[in-house]
Protein backbone atom coordinates (compact mmCIF):
# COMPACT_ATOMS: atom_id res chain seq x y z
CA UNK A 1 0.00 0.00 0.00
CA UNK A 2 1.33 3.42 -0.99
CA UNK A 3 1.41 6.88 0.50
CA UNK A 4 0.57 10.15 -1.23
CA UNK A 5 1.07 13.77 -0.22
CA UNK A 6 -1.38 16.45 -1.22
CA UNK A 7 -3.78 19.16 -0.12
CA UNK A 8 -6.97 18.43 1.76
CA UNK A 9 -9.95 20.69 1.08
CA UNK A 10 -13.07 20.57 3.25
CA UNK A 11 -16.36 20.87 1.41
CA UNK A 12 -20.09 20.59 1.74
CA UNK A 13 -21.88 17.60 0.25
CA UNK A 14 -25.57 17.07 -0.23
CA UNK A 15 -25.58 13.95 1.90
CA UNK A 16 -23.55 15.57 4.67
CA UNK A 17 -26.13 18.37 4.84
CA UNK A 18 -29.12 16.07 4.71
CA UNK A 19 -27.78 13.69 7.36
CA UNK A 20 -26.44 16.42 9.62
CA UNK A 21 -29.94 17.83 10.12
CA UNK A 22 -31.39 14.35 10.67
CA UNK A 23 -29.12 12.89 13.35
CA UNK A 24 -25.54 13.83 14.09
CA UNK A 25 -25.06 10.57 15.95
CA UNK A 26 -26.49 8.47 13.16
CA UNK A 27 -24.41 6.06 11.07
CA UNK A 28 -25.17 7.70 7.68
CA UNK A 29 -23.82 11.07 8.87
CA UNK A 30 -20.65 9.54 10.27
CA UNK A 31 -20.13 7.50 7.13
CA UNK A 32 -20.54 10.54 4.88
CA UNK A 33 -18.18 12.79 6.83
CA UNK A 34 -15.59 9.98 6.74
CA UNK A 35 -15.71 9.67 2.95
CA UNK A 36 -12.77 11.16 1.07
CA UNK A 37 -13.16 12.18 -2.59
CA UNK A 38 -9.99 11.38 -4.50
CA UNK A 39 -8.85 10.98 -8.11
CA UNK A 40 -8.97 7.47 -9.62
CA UNK A 41 -5.24 7.51 -10.43
CA UNK A 42 -4.36 8.57 -6.90
CA UNK A 43 -6.48 5.70 -5.65
CA UNK A 44 -4.57 3.32 -7.88
CA UNK A 45 -1.28 4.70 -6.65
CA UNK A 46 -2.41 4.03 -3.11
CA UNK A 47 -3.23 0.50 -4.21
CA UNK A 48 -6.90 0.97 -3.32
CA UNK A 49 -10.19 0.02 -4.89
CA UNK A 50 -13.05 2.53 -4.96
CA UNK A 51 -14.43 2.48 -1.42
CA UNK A 52 -11.16 1.32 0.09
CA UNK A 53 -9.92 2.49 3.46
CA UNK A 54 -7.07 4.86 4.13
CA UNK A 55 -5.40 6.84 6.89
CA UNK A 56 -5.22 10.58 6.47
CA UNK A 57 -2.69 12.55 8.49
CA UNK A 58 -1.81 16.22 8.93
CA UNK A 59 0.64 17.78 11.36
CA UNK A 60 -2.26 18.09 13.82
CA UNK A 61 -3.81 14.64 13.77
CA UNK A 62 -4.73 11.47 11.97
CA UNK A 63 -8.07 9.98 10.89
CA UNK A 64 -9.43 6.94 9.08
CA UNK A 65 -11.53 7.43 5.97
CA UNK A 66 -13.21 5.65 3.09
CA UNK A 67 -11.89 6.66 -0.32
CA UNK A 68 -14.29 7.35 -3.13
CA UNK A 69 -13.17 7.94 -6.69
CA UNK A 70 -14.30 11.31 -8.01
CA UNK A 71 -13.64 13.79 -10.80
CA UNK A 72 -11.14 15.72 -8.77
CA UNK A 73 -7.68 16.97 -9.70
CA UNK A 74 -4.81 14.71 -8.72
CA UNK A 75 -3.21 15.60 -5.42
CA UNK A 76 -6.30 17.35 -4.13
CA UNK A 77 -8.44 15.48 -1.64
CA UNK A 78 -11.92 16.48 -0.54
CA UNK A 79 -13.59 15.66 2.77
CA UNK A 80 -16.95 16.92 4.05
CA UNK A 81 -16.88 19.45 6.86
CA UNK A 82 -17.35 17.88 10.24
CA UNK A 83 -15.77 16.45 13.34
CA UNK A 84 -13.78 13.81 11.44
CA UNK A 85 -12.03 16.35 9.21
CA UNK A 86 -11.60 18.69 12.16
CA UNK A 87 -9.05 16.36 13.76
CA UNK A 88 -6.67 17.38 10.99
CA UNK A 89 -7.04 21.10 11.72
CA UNK A 90 -5.90 23.24 14.57
CA UNK A 91 -6.70 26.59 16.11
CA UNK A 92 -3.04 27.29 15.40
CA UNK A 93 -3.60 26.85 11.68
CA UNK A 94 -5.66 30.08 11.65
CA UNK A 95 -4.26 33.10 9.84
CA UNK A 96 -4.52 36.77 10.86
CA UNK A 97 -8.20 37.00 10.05
CA UNK A 98 -9.03 34.08 12.33
CA UNK A 99 -9.88 31.56 9.62
CA UNK A 100 -8.24 28.10 9.80
CA UNK A 101 -6.88 26.75 6.52
CA UNK A 102 -10.02 24.75 5.77
CA UNK A 103 -9.40 24.99 2.03
CA UNK A 104 -5.90 23.61 1.90
CA UNK A 105 -3.96 21.75 4.54
CA UNK A 106 -1.03 19.49 3.69
CA UNK A 107 -1.84 15.85 4.34
CA UNK A 108 -0.57 12.39 3.58
CA UNK A 109 -2.88 9.58 2.59
CA UNK A 110 -1.85 6.04 3.30
CA UNK A 111 -3.86 3.23 1.82
CA UNK A 112 -5.24 0.31 3.71
CA UNK A 113 -4.68 1.39 7.27
CA UNK A 114 -8.26 1.85 8.20
CA UNK A 115 -10.04 -0.25 10.80
CA UNK A 116 -13.17 -2.15 9.81
CA UNK A 117 -15.34 0.83 10.51
CA UNK A 118 -14.35 4.47 10.13
CA UNK A 119 -13.83 6.30 13.38
CA UNK A 120 -16.86 8.22 14.56
CA UNK A 121 -16.63 11.57 16.19
CA UNK A 122 -16.95 10.10 19.64
CA UNK A 123 -14.19 7.55 19.19
CA UNK A 124 -11.26 9.78 18.68
CA UNK A 125 -8.40 9.74 21.13
CA UNK A 126 -9.14 13.01 22.84
CA UNK A 127 -8.09 13.95 26.31
Amino acid sequence: MGTLSGLLVTVRTARQGAEMVSDKHGAPYIEEISTLRIHQDDLAELGLEDGGKAALASEHGEIRVFCKAAETPRGLFFLPLGPVANVLFSVHSAKESGVPNWKGIEVTVTGGEGPDKPSGPGQRGES
Binding site: V11, A70, F89, A94, K103, G104, P121
Partner: protein, 430 residues
Protein backbone atom coordinates in the same frame (compact mmCIF):
# COMPACT_ATOMS: atom_id res chain seq x y z
CA UNK B 1 -54.68 17.86 10.03
CA UNK B 2 -53.52 21.41 9.39
CA UNK B 3 -51.47 22.46 6.38
CA UNK B 4 -49.23 25.46 6.85
CA UNK B 5 -48.46 27.37 3.65
CA UNK B 6 -45.63 29.79 2.89
CA UNK B 7 -43.45 28.23 5.57
CA UNK B 8 -39.92 29.60 5.75
CA UNK B 9 -37.13 27.02 5.83
CA UNK B 10 -34.41 27.92 8.33
CA UNK B 11 -31.56 25.74 7.11
CA UNK B 12 -29.46 27.84 4.74
CA UNK B 13 -29.17 31.44 3.64
CA UNK B 14 -31.73 30.89 0.86
CA UNK B 15 -34.63 30.95 3.36
CA UNK B 16 -37.04 29.44 0.83
CA UNK B 17 -40.44 30.68 1.97
CA UNK B 18 -42.83 28.59 -0.08
CA UNK B 19 -42.83 25.34 1.89
CA UNK B 20 -45.98 23.45 2.80
CA UNK B 21 -46.01 21.56 6.06
CA UNK B 22 -48.69 19.18 7.31
CA UNK B 23 -49.20 19.01 11.05
CA UNK B 24 -51.36 16.56 12.93
CA UNK B 25 -51.55 15.99 16.69
CA UNK B 26 -48.65 18.37 17.21
CA UNK B 27 -46.43 16.31 14.93
CA UNK B 28 -44.96 17.17 11.53
CA UNK B 29 -46.46 14.72 9.04
CA UNK B 30 -45.16 15.95 5.70
CA UNK B 31 -43.04 18.67 4.16
CA UNK B 32 -43.48 19.67 0.53
CA UNK B 33 -41.43 21.87 -1.84
CA UNK B 34 -38.39 21.86 0.41
CA UNK B 35 -35.02 20.49 -0.67
CA UNK B 36 -33.82 17.26 0.89
CA UNK B 37 -31.95 19.06 3.66
CA UNK B 38 -34.83 21.39 4.46
CA UNK B 39 -37.26 18.53 4.50
CA UNK B 40 -35.09 16.43 6.81
CA UNK B 41 -34.52 19.39 9.09
CA UNK B 42 -38.22 20.06 9.55
CA UNK B 43 -39.23 16.39 9.75
CA UNK B 44 -36.63 15.85 12.49
CA UNK B 45 -37.14 19.17 14.22
CA UNK B 46 -38.64 17.68 17.35
CA UNK B 47 -36.52 14.55 17.55
CA UNK B 48 -33.29 13.92 19.47
CA UNK B 49 -33.88 16.69 21.99
CA UNK B 50 -31.34 16.44 24.80
CA UNK B 51 -32.35 16.27 28.43
CA UNK B 52 -31.73 19.31 30.60
CA UNK B 53 -28.38 18.52 32.17
CA UNK B 54 -25.99 20.12 34.62
CA UNK B 55 -22.56 18.45 34.88
CA UNK B 56 -23.94 15.43 33.07
CA UNK B 57 -26.86 14.94 35.48
CA UNK B 58 -30.47 15.65 34.59
CA UNK B 59 -31.74 18.84 36.14
CA UNK B 60 -34.75 21.14 36.16
CA UNK B 61 -34.88 24.14 33.84
CA UNK B 62 -34.70 26.44 36.85
CA UNK B 63 -31.59 24.75 38.18
CA UNK B 64 -29.92 24.83 34.76
CA UNK B 65 -30.68 28.52 34.29
CA UNK B 66 -29.41 29.25 37.77
CA UNK B 67 -26.16 27.37 37.16
CA UNK B 68 -25.72 29.09 33.78
CA UNK B 69 -26.16 32.50 35.41
CA UNK B 70 -23.73 31.59 38.17
CA UNK B 71 -21.06 30.44 35.71
CA UNK B 72 -21.42 33.50 33.50
CA UNK B 73 -21.64 35.90 36.41
CA UNK B 74 -18.45 34.56 37.95
CA UNK B 75 -16.42 34.26 34.74
CA UNK B 76 -13.61 36.76 34.29
CA UNK B 77 -13.27 36.52 30.53
CA UNK B 78 -16.27 34.67 29.11
CA UNK B 79 -17.10 33.88 25.50
CA UNK B 80 -20.59 34.38 24.11
CA UNK B 81 -20.74 32.60 20.82
CA UNK B 82 -22.96 31.08 18.15
CA UNK B 83 -26.35 32.51 17.16
CA UNK B 84 -26.22 31.52 13.50
CA UNK B 85 -29.25 29.23 13.56
CA UNK B 86 -31.56 31.16 15.81
CA UNK B 87 -33.74 34.25 15.54
CA UNK B 88 -32.56 37.82 15.63
CA UNK B 89 -34.74 38.20 18.72
CA UNK B 90 -32.54 35.63 20.49
CA UNK B 91 -29.41 37.21 19.01
CA UNK B 92 -30.41 40.54 20.54
CA UNK B 93 -30.54 38.84 23.95
CA UNK B 94 -27.10 37.30 23.35
CA UNK B 95 -25.55 40.73 22.74
CA UNK B 96 -27.21 42.10 25.86
CA UNK B 97 -25.81 39.26 27.96
CA UNK B 98 -22.36 39.70 26.43
CA UNK B 99 -22.38 43.38 27.35
CA UNK B 100 -23.59 42.65 30.82
CA UNK B 101 -20.84 40.16 31.63
CA UNK B 102 -18.21 42.03 29.58
CA UNK B 103 -17.70 39.02 27.35
CA UNK B 104 -16.10 38.30 24.02
CA UNK B 105 -18.84 38.04 21.42
CA UNK B 106 -18.51 36.22 18.13
CA UNK B 107 -20.43 34.12 15.63
CA UNK B 108 -19.41 31.36 13.21
CA UNK B 109 -19.05 33.78 10.31
CA UNK B 110 -15.61 34.65 11.70
CA UNK B 111 -14.27 31.43 10.17
CA UNK B 112 -16.70 31.15 7.22
CA UNK B 113 -17.95 34.24 5.41
CA UNK B 114 -16.42 36.65 7.92
CA UNK B 115 -13.59 37.56 5.54
CA UNK B 116 -16.26 38.79 3.13
CA UNK B 117 -17.74 40.90 5.88
CA UNK B 118 -14.30 42.33 6.65
CA UNK B 119 -13.88 43.11 2.96
CA UNK B 120 -17.08 45.12 3.16
CA UNK B 121 -15.43 47.21 5.88
CA UNK B 122 -12.50 47.89 3.58
CA UNK B 123 -14.11 48.34 0.18
CA UNK B 124 -17.88 48.01 0.47
CA UNK B 125 -19.88 45.64 -1.68
CA UNK B 126 -22.13 46.22 -4.67
CA UNK B 127 -24.92 43.76 -4.21
CA UNK B 128 -28.58 43.09 -4.86
CA UNK B 129 -31.46 41.05 -3.57
CA UNK B 130 -31.95 37.60 -5.06
CA UNK B 131 -34.94 38.83 -7.03
CA UNK B 132 -32.71 41.09 -9.10
CA UNK B 133 -30.73 37.98 -10.07
CA UNK B 134 -33.96 36.22 -10.96
CA UNK B 135 -35.46 39.14 -12.88
CA UNK B 136 -32.43 40.65 -14.57
CA UNK B 137 -29.28 38.55 -14.48
CA UNK B 138 -28.15 37.60 -17.97
CA UNK B 139 -24.73 36.62 -16.64
CA UNK B 140 -24.26 34.50 -13.54
CA UNK B 141 -20.86 33.63 -12.10
CA UNK B 142 -20.50 30.94 -9.42
CA UNK B 143 -17.11 31.31 -7.79
CA UNK B 144 -15.91 28.91 -5.12
CA UNK B 145 -19.41 27.78 -4.31
CA UNK B 146 -21.43 24.67 -4.94
CA UNK B 147 -25.08 25.55 -4.42
CA UNK B 148 -26.33 22.31 -5.96
CA UNK B 149 -25.16 20.59 -2.78
CA UNK B 150 -25.15 23.40 -0.21
CA UNK B 151 -28.01 25.71 -1.28
CA UNK B 152 -30.06 23.19 -3.14
CA UNK B 153 -32.90 25.38 -4.44
CA UNK B 154 -30.75 28.42 -5.17
CA UNK B 155 -30.47 27.57 -8.86
CA UNK B 156 -34.15 26.95 -9.41
CA UNK B 157 -35.53 29.75 -7.24
CA UNK B 158 -33.03 32.55 -7.72
CA UNK B 159 -30.02 32.27 -9.94
CA UNK B 160 -30.01 29.84 -12.85
CA UNK B 161 -33.40 28.68 -14.04
CA UNK B 162 -36.13 31.02 -12.83
CA UNK B 163 -38.11 32.90 -15.42
CA UNK B 164 -37.86 36.49 -14.31
CA UNK B 165 -39.37 39.76 -15.42
CA UNK B 166 -36.62 40.42 -17.98
CA UNK B 167 -35.39 36.83 -18.27
CA UNK B 168 -38.59 35.22 -19.56
CA UNK B 169 -36.74 32.22 -20.98
CA UNK B 170 -35.05 31.39 -17.69
CA UNK B 171 -31.83 29.45 -18.18
CA UNK B 172 -31.74 30.27 -21.91
CA UNK B 173 -31.53 33.98 -21.14
CA UNK B 174 -28.44 33.51 -19.00
CA UNK B 175 -24.77 32.93 -19.61
CA UNK B 176 -23.24 31.00 -16.75
CA UNK B 177 -19.60 30.87 -15.63
CA UNK B 178 -18.19 28.70 -12.84
CA UNK B 179 -14.80 29.09 -11.21
CA UNK B 180 -13.72 26.28 -8.91
CA UNK B 181 -10.79 24.02 -8.11
CA UNK B 182 -12.72 20.89 -9.06
CA UNK B 183 -15.69 19.80 -11.07
CA UNK B 184 -18.90 19.86 -9.01
CA UNK B 185 -22.56 19.35 -9.81
CA UNK B 186 -22.71 23.15 -9.99
CA UNK B 187 -19.83 23.62 -12.43
CA UNK B 188 -21.50 21.06 -14.70
CA UNK B 189 -24.39 23.49 -15.14
CA UNK B 190 -22.14 26.28 -16.44
CA UNK B 191 -21.49 27.35 -20.05
CA UNK B 192 -17.91 28.08 -19.14
CA UNK B 193 -16.05 26.30 -16.34
CA UNK B 194 -12.63 27.50 -15.31
CA UNK B 195 -10.90 24.87 -13.22
CA UNK B 196 -8.24 26.75 -11.28
CA UNK B 197 -5.39 25.65 -9.05
CA UNK B 198 -6.04 26.18 -5.34
CA UNK B 199 -4.97 29.31 -3.51
CA UNK B 200 -5.09 31.87 -6.32
CA UNK B 201 -8.31 33.81 -5.77
CA UNK B 202 -6.50 37.10 -5.30
CA UNK B 203 -4.50 36.74 -8.52
CA UNK B 204 -7.59 35.79 -10.48
CA UNK B 205 -9.56 38.77 -9.21
CA UNK B 206 -6.58 41.04 -9.90
CA UNK B 207 -6.20 39.88 -13.46
CA UNK B 208 -9.93 40.19 -14.11
CA UNK B 209 -9.82 43.72 -12.71
CA UNK B 210 -6.94 44.60 -14.97
CA UNK B 211 -8.76 43.30 -18.03
CA UNK B 212 -12.03 45.01 -17.07
CA UNK B 213 -10.07 48.25 -16.79
CA UNK B 214 -8.46 47.73 -20.18
CA UNK B 215 -4.99 46.78 -18.94
CA UNK B 216 -3.06 43.81 -20.31
CA UNK B 217 -0.94 42.01 -17.72
CA UNK B 218 2.61 41.14 -18.69
CA UNK B 219 4.00 37.68 -18.04
CA UNK B 220 7.74 37.62 -17.37
CA UNK B 221 8.01 33.88 -17.90
CA UNK B 222 6.03 33.94 -21.10
CA UNK B 223 3.43 31.57 -19.71
CA UNK B 224 0.21 33.36 -20.36
CA UNK B 225 -1.84 31.78 -17.58
CA UNK B 226 -3.24 32.59 -14.19
CA UNK B 227 -4.16 29.93 -11.62
CA UNK B 228 -3.45 27.28 -14.24
CA UNK B 229 -5.98 28.73 -16.68
CA UNK B 230 -4.85 30.36 -19.93
CA UNK B 231 -5.35 34.10 -20.28
CA UNK B 232 -7.61 33.46 -23.25
CA UNK B 233 -10.22 32.06 -20.90
CA UNK B 234 -9.95 35.01 -18.52
CA UNK B 235 -10.32 37.36 -21.47
CA UNK B 236 -13.43 35.48 -22.43
CA UNK B 237 -14.89 35.94 -18.95
CA UNK B 238 -14.24 39.68 -19.15
CA UNK B 239 -15.84 39.83 -22.59
CA UNK B 240 -18.89 38.15 -21.09
CA UNK B 241 -18.91 40.65 -18.23
CA UNK B 242 -18.69 43.61 -20.56
CA UNK B 243 -21.36 42.20 -22.86
CA UNK B 244 -23.97 41.51 -20.22
CA UNK B 245 -26.67 43.85 -19.04
CA UNK B 246 -26.84 42.78 -15.42
CA UNK B 247 -24.31 40.34 -14.01
CA UNK B 248 -24.42 38.67 -10.62
CA UNK B 249 -21.44 36.95 -9.03
CA UNK B 250 -22.14 34.44 -6.27
CA UNK B 251 -19.15 33.62 -4.11
CA UNK B 252 -18.71 30.89 -1.54
CA UNK B 253 -16.22 29.64 1.01
CA UNK B 254 -13.83 28.78 -1.82
CA UNK B 255 -13.24 32.52 -2.07
CA UNK B 256 -13.48 33.56 1.58
CA UNK B 257 -11.45 30.66 3.00
CA UNK B 258 -8.85 30.61 0.25
CA UNK B 259 -5.46 31.78 1.52
CA UNK B 260 -5.45 35.59 2.04
CA UNK B 261 -9.15 35.33 3.08
CA UNK B 262 -10.38 38.92 3.44
CA UNK B 263 -8.19 40.51 0.79
CA UNK B 264 -9.51 37.98 -1.73
CA UNK B 265 -13.00 39.22 -1.19
CA UNK B 266 -11.81 42.80 -1.17
CA UNK B 267 -10.34 42.29 -4.62
CA UNK B 268 -13.48 40.50 -5.83
CA UNK B 269 -15.51 43.39 -4.47
CA UNK B 270 -13.30 45.89 -6.32
CA UNK B 271 -13.72 43.84 -9.48
CA UNK B 272 -17.48 44.16 -9.16
CA UNK B 273 -17.19 47.90 -8.55
CA UNK B 274 -15.00 48.21 -11.66
CA UNK B 275 -17.47 46.20 -13.74
CA UNK B 276 -20.13 48.79 -12.94
CA UNK B 277 -18.23 51.31 -15.03
CA UNK B 278 -19.36 49.26 -18.02
CA UNK B 279 -22.49 47.35 -17.07
CA UNK B 280 -24.55 46.68 -13.97
CA UNK B 281 -22.95 44.09 -11.77
CA UNK B 282 -23.55 42.74 -8.27
CA UNK B 283 -22.00 40.20 -5.94
CA UNK B 284 -23.65 38.07 -3.28
CA UNK B 285 -22.14 35.91 -0.56
CA UNK B 286 -23.59 32.39 -0.39
CA UNK B 287 -24.27 32.48 3.33
CA UNK B 288 -24.50 29.05 4.94
CA UNK B 289 -26.40 28.88 8.22
CA UNK B 290 -29.96 30.15 8.00
CA UNK B 291 -29.47 33.25 10.10
CA UNK B 292 -25.73 33.75 10.13
CA UNK B 293 -26.35 36.97 8.24
CA UNK B 294 -28.71 37.95 11.05
CA UNK B 295 -25.81 37.59 13.53
CA UNK B 296 -23.82 40.09 11.51
CA UNK B 297 -26.81 42.41 11.22
CA UNK B 298 -27.80 42.32 14.89
CA UNK B 299 -24.23 42.64 16.13
CA UNK B 300 -23.71 45.59 13.81
CA UNK B 301 -26.77 47.55 14.89
CA UNK B 302 -26.16 46.86 18.58
CA UNK B 303 -22.34 46.96 18.78
CA UNK B 304 -21.24 48.63 15.52
CA UNK B 305 -19.34 45.54 14.36
CA UNK B 306 -20.50 42.38 12.58
CA UNK B 307 -18.27 39.92 14.48
CA UNK B 308 -15.31 39.59 16.84
CA UNK B 309 -16.28 42.03 19.57
CA UNK B 310 -14.88 42.35 23.08
CA UNK B 311 -16.72 44.10 25.91
CA UNK B 312 -14.08 43.88 28.64
CA UNK B 313 -13.96 47.68 28.90
CA UNK B 314 -17.73 48.05 28.84
CA UNK B 315 -17.81 49.39 25.28
CA UNK B 316 -17.48 47.39 22.07
CA UNK B 317 -13.99 46.81 20.71
CA UNK B 318 -13.58 44.98 17.43
CA UNK B 319 -10.52 43.10 16.34
CA UNK B 320 -10.92 40.15 14.02
CA UNK B 321 -8.12 37.67 14.51
CA UNK B 322 -7.97 38.65 18.17
CA UNK B 323 -11.59 38.42 19.29
CA UNK B 324 -12.60 35.86 16.66
CA UNK B 325 -13.56 32.55 18.18
CA UNK B 326 -10.74 30.38 16.77
CA UNK B 327 -7.77 32.55 17.87
CA UNK B 328 -9.51 33.18 21.18
CA UNK B 329 -9.65 29.44 21.82
CA UNK B 330 -6.08 29.11 20.60
CA UNK B 331 -4.91 31.48 23.32
CA UNK B 332 -6.96 29.57 25.89
CA UNK B 333 -7.88 32.81 27.61
CA UNK B 334 -11.61 32.40 27.99
CA UNK B 335 -12.79 30.85 31.23
CA UNK B 336 -16.44 30.07 30.40
CA UNK B 337 -18.63 30.00 27.32
CA UNK B 338 -22.27 30.49 26.41
CA UNK B 339 -22.83 28.76 23.09
CA UNK B 340 -26.19 28.96 21.37
CA UNK B 341 -27.48 27.66 18.03
CA UNK B 342 -24.20 26.37 16.71
CA UNK B 343 -22.34 23.12 17.35
CA UNK B 344 -18.64 23.73 18.00
CA UNK B 345 -18.16 20.00 18.60
CA UNK B 346 -18.94 19.51 14.92
CA UNK B 347 -17.58 22.71 13.42
CA UNK B 348 -14.35 23.73 15.18
CA UNK B 349 -10.86 22.22 14.96
CA UNK B 350 -10.38 19.31 17.35
CA UNK B 351 -7.99 21.19 19.64
CA UNK B 352 -10.55 24.00 20.03
CA UNK B 353 -13.06 21.41 21.18
CA UNK B 354 -10.50 19.86 23.54
CA UNK B 355 -9.95 23.25 25.16
CA UNK B 356 -13.69 23.97 25.43
CA UNK B 357 -14.05 20.71 27.36
CA UNK B 358 -11.77 22.13 30.04
CA UNK B 359 -13.94 25.17 30.84
CA UNK B 360 -17.61 25.47 31.87
CA UNK B 361 -19.75 25.58 28.72
CA UNK B 362 -23.45 26.43 28.64
CA UNK B 363 -25.10 25.15 25.51
CA UNK B 364 -28.58 25.74 24.09
CA UNK B 365 -29.67 23.61 21.14
CA UNK B 366 -32.82 21.82 19.97
CA UNK B 367 -30.94 18.55 19.37
CA UNK B 368 -28.34 16.20 20.75
CA UNK B 369 -25.29 17.20 18.76
CA UNK B 370 -21.53 16.91 19.17
CA UNK B 371 -21.40 19.56 21.91
CA UNK B 372 -24.26 18.35 24.13
CA UNK B 373 -22.42 15.21 25.32
CA UNK B 374 -19.79 17.24 27.16
CA UNK B 375 -21.23 20.72 27.79
CA UNK B 376 -21.51 21.63 31.49
CA UNK B 377 -25.05 22.97 31.24
CA UNK B 378 -27.27 21.68 28.45
CA UNK B 379 -30.64 23.33 27.86
CA UNK B 380 -32.85 21.96 25.08
CA UNK B 381 -34.81 24.61 23.19
CA UNK B 382 -37.72 24.73 20.80
CA UNK B 383 -36.55 24.52 17.17
CA UNK B 384 -37.01 27.89 15.49
CA UNK B 385 -39.19 27.98 12.42
CA UNK B 386 -41.06 24.92 13.65
CA UNK B 387 -41.86 25.44 17.34
CA UNK B 388 -40.68 29.03 17.84
CA UNK B 389 -41.15 32.20 15.77
CA UNK B 390 -38.84 35.08 15.01
CA UNK B 391 -36.79 36.87 12.39
CA UNK B 392 -34.19 35.45 9.99
CA UNK B 393 -32.09 37.44 7.49
CA UNK B 394 -31.67 35.87 4.08
CA UNK B 395 -28.24 35.88 2.41
CA UNK B 396 -29.26 39.07 0.60
CA UNK B 397 -30.48 40.81 3.79
CA UNK B 398 -34.18 40.27 3.16
CA UNK B 399 -35.68 39.67 6.62
CA UNK B 400 -38.37 37.02 6.95
CA UNK B 401 -40.45 35.88 9.88
CA UNK B 402 -40.12 32.17 10.62
CA UNK B 403 -43.18 30.54 12.11
CA UNK B 404 -44.33 28.40 14.96
CA UNK B 405 -46.34 25.40 13.77
CA UNK B 406 -46.17 23.01 16.71
CA UNK B 407 -45.69 23.17 20.44
CA UNK B 408 -42.36 22.07 21.84
CA UNK B 409 -42.05 20.95 25.45
CA UNK B 410 -39.07 23.31 25.60
CA UNK B 411 -38.89 27.11 25.68
CA UNK B 412 -37.32 29.12 22.84
CA UNK B 413 -33.70 30.30 22.85
CA UNK B 414 -35.04 33.78 23.32
CA UNK B 415 -36.97 32.84 26.46
CA UNK B 416 -34.12 30.87 28.00
CA UNK B 417 -31.66 33.68 27.30
CA UNK B 418 -34.03 36.20 28.87
CA UNK B 419 -34.27 34.01 31.96
CA UNK B 420 -30.48 33.67 32.20
CA UNK B 421 -30.11 37.42 31.76
CA UNK B 422 -32.60 38.18 34.52
CA UNK B 423 -30.87 35.72 36.80
CA UNK B 424 -27.45 37.29 36.18
CA UNK B 425 -28.94 40.72 36.84
CA UNK B 426 -30.56 39.50 40.01
CA UNK B 427 -27.37 37.89 41.30
CA UNK B 428 -25.38 41.04 40.48
CA UNK B 429 -27.79 43.13 42.52
CA UNK B 430 -27.87 40.89 45.59
Amino acid sequence: MTTHDNVVCTFCGCLCDDLEVDVEDNAIKAVRKACLIGKNKIMNALSHAPAIRVNGREASLGAAVEEAARILGEAKNPLVYGMSSTTSEAQREMVDIAEMIRANLDNPSSYCHGPGVLARQQAGLVTCTLGEAKNRADLVIYWGCNPVEAHMRHLTRYSLQPKGLYTPEGRKDRKVVAIDIRQTPTTKRADLFLQVTPGHTFEIASVLRALVNGLEPEFQDGREEVAGVPMESWRRVVEMIKACKYGVLFFGLGVTQCRNTDINVEQVSRLVQDANKHVRFSALAMRGHGNVNGCNQVMTWQTGFPLAVNFSRGFPRHNPGEYSVVPMLARQEVDAALIVATDPGAHLPADAVRFLKTIPVIHLDPHENLTTPWATVVIPVAPVGVAAAGTFYRMDNVPLRVKKMVESPHPSDEDVLKAIKEKIRHVAHT
